[in-house]
């Protein structure tokens, strides 16, 4: 069975470490905040200028001056700080954020990522995504492995305009956890009940399978 959005978030959360500063993109990455293991402290960076993002406010706590990068009203966690956009991206570009999680339309065997534009169809802009992929060393891309019509999104070469070149090393899809190195995808784990063959079928770029591939544990 392909992973649900919640399971994707849960699997990413297993990569968190105590004391991590983490930037979570919009969508599935945001859900990761719900699965921080108990006893572990992580601080969430929101690139509009907040380190230490808290949960959504109650009706009484709503403050128009306090939002996250998805423009949602939020609160501040204990120990939070606020700053301007240049400082925020100094953190990101300077490599000070321990883990970045974001979505994508396509990823390829050379670690290229396309996530911000579908020419002629969707032109919303890259927001902070280009800075995040260029600045972070530890990035996990979360995405569906293939389109609804079975077209692979893990490619030998991205077809859409790139968000970043050669910057992605880990991809978690609804079917597999994959590492990118030396111009190839390497299958690390598969979703429970998903066979290696199914993953091969839906991976257009070269995929290396070495040994027994374990199922993800939840």
């Amino acid at each position: 069975m392909a992973l649900s959005r919640e399971q994707l978030a849960q699997r990413v959360a297993q990569e968190l470490k105590d004391g991590y500063y983490v930037n979570l993109g919009i969508g599935i990455p945001t859900l990761v905040a719900n699965y921080v293991p108990s006893g572990m402290e992580v601080m969430l960076q929101s690139e509009n200028g907040l380190l230490g993002m808290g949960q959504f406010p109650t009706e009484e706590e709503i403050d128009a001056d306090l939002i996250n990068a998805g423009k949602q009203t939020v609160t501040m966690a204990t120990g939070a700080s606020v700053f301007d956009s240049a400082e925020s991206f100094a953190m990101i570009r300077g490599g000070h954020v321990d883990l970045t999680v974001l979505g994508a339309f396509e990823v390829d065997v050379n670690g290229n990522i396309a996530s911000y534009m579908i020419p002629g169809k969707l032109i919303k802009g890259m927001g902070g995504a280009m800075d995040l992929v260029a600045g972070a060393d530890n990035i996990i891309v979360t995405m569906t492995h293939a389109s609804k019509h079975g077209v692979s999104k893990l490619l030998s070469r991205c077809t859409l305009p790139l968000t970043g070149k050669g910057c992605i090393k880990k991809v978690l899809t609804d079917l597999a956890f994959i590492e990118i190195k030396e111009g190839k995808f390497h299958l690390l784990e598969r979703a429970p009940g998903v066979s290696v063959d199914e993953i091969i079928q839906l991976t257009e770029g070269e995929l290396v399978i070495s040994g027994e591939i374990p199922e993800m544990q939840f």
Partner: protein, 235 residues
């Protein structure tokens, strides 16, 4: 105005001198921390052919979006523009020129512009459409592109508090691009929720020193919320 007193008495005075085809740098992220009354004054004035430098372009009926129906904006430099139907129409039809710029690069362009640095190298955008036509250079084995700084004829800024000398304090995430925009305008106009006397703000707590501010006005704000997300209070 006398000495360091930056306070002006009307929005008309605040935006005096704005002419067609000028460049305006705007603070704000989404609808958070935008100079809503200065934008309204630009709409009232009807100035056209503007180049707006702003992370976003508002929504259809609020923020910079209100300048779209009368075609006041010729070009926008922004990182994310996806919340606005009229914007999309004008962009697709070619009536509006859009220069998509990564958010961190946009912030740094303003910062550099205000700091007298003409351009800077960044890894952001290397190997992407953003790099097209830009100088590339390698430092310590990594690839970078040269990004020019931005300055504006005007900057429009929203702060929380100011003293009459234009020393500014921002509030929470409404700070965003505002302190950077403030440094990058030939004429920087700031609207605030409260103006106090010089000496009333703690010098250690000032985010933007008054040297960057030319005009200051106190306004009232709608502060519209784009995504109202709440949790139930019983949790």
């Amino acid at each position: 105005m006398a000495g360091f007193d930056k306070v002006v008495s009307s929005y008309e005075e605040a935006m005096a001198g704005l002419e067609n085809n000028m460049t305006i740098i705007s603070g704000g992220f989404g609808l958070c921390g935008i100079a809503e009354n200065l934008i309204a004054e630009i709409k009232r004035k009807g100035t056209k052919g503007l180049t707006m430098v702003s992370n976003n372009c508002g929504v259809d009926d609020f923020g910079l979006g209100v300048l779209l129906p009368n075609r006041q904006i010729k070009k926008i430099v922004a990182s994310y523009v996806g919340e606005n139907a009229e914007f999309e129409r004008q962009m697709m039809s070619g009536e509006l020129e859009v220069e998509l710029t990564p958010q961190g690069t946009l912030a740094e362009k303003m910062r550099a512009g205000g700091a007298g640095i003409p351009a800077f190298y960044t890894a952001t955008g290397y190997g992407t459409p953003v790099a097209e036509g830009k100088e590339e250079r390698e430092f310590n084995g990594r690839h970078y592109i040269l990004e020019p700084a931005i300055t504006g004829d005007f900057a429009i800024v929203k702060a929380w508090k100011a003293d009459r000398y234009g020393n500014l304090v921002f509030r929470k995430t409404a700070r965003n691009f505002n302190p950077l925009a403030a440094t990058a305008g030939k004429i920087t106009v700031v609207e605030v929720e409260e103006i106090v006397e010089p000496g009333e703000l703690d010098p250690d707590q000032i985010h933007t020193p008054g040297i960057h501010v030319n005009r200051l006005i106190q306004g009232t704000f709608e502060k519209r919320i784009e995504q109202r997300t709440i949790r139930s209070s019983v949790e």
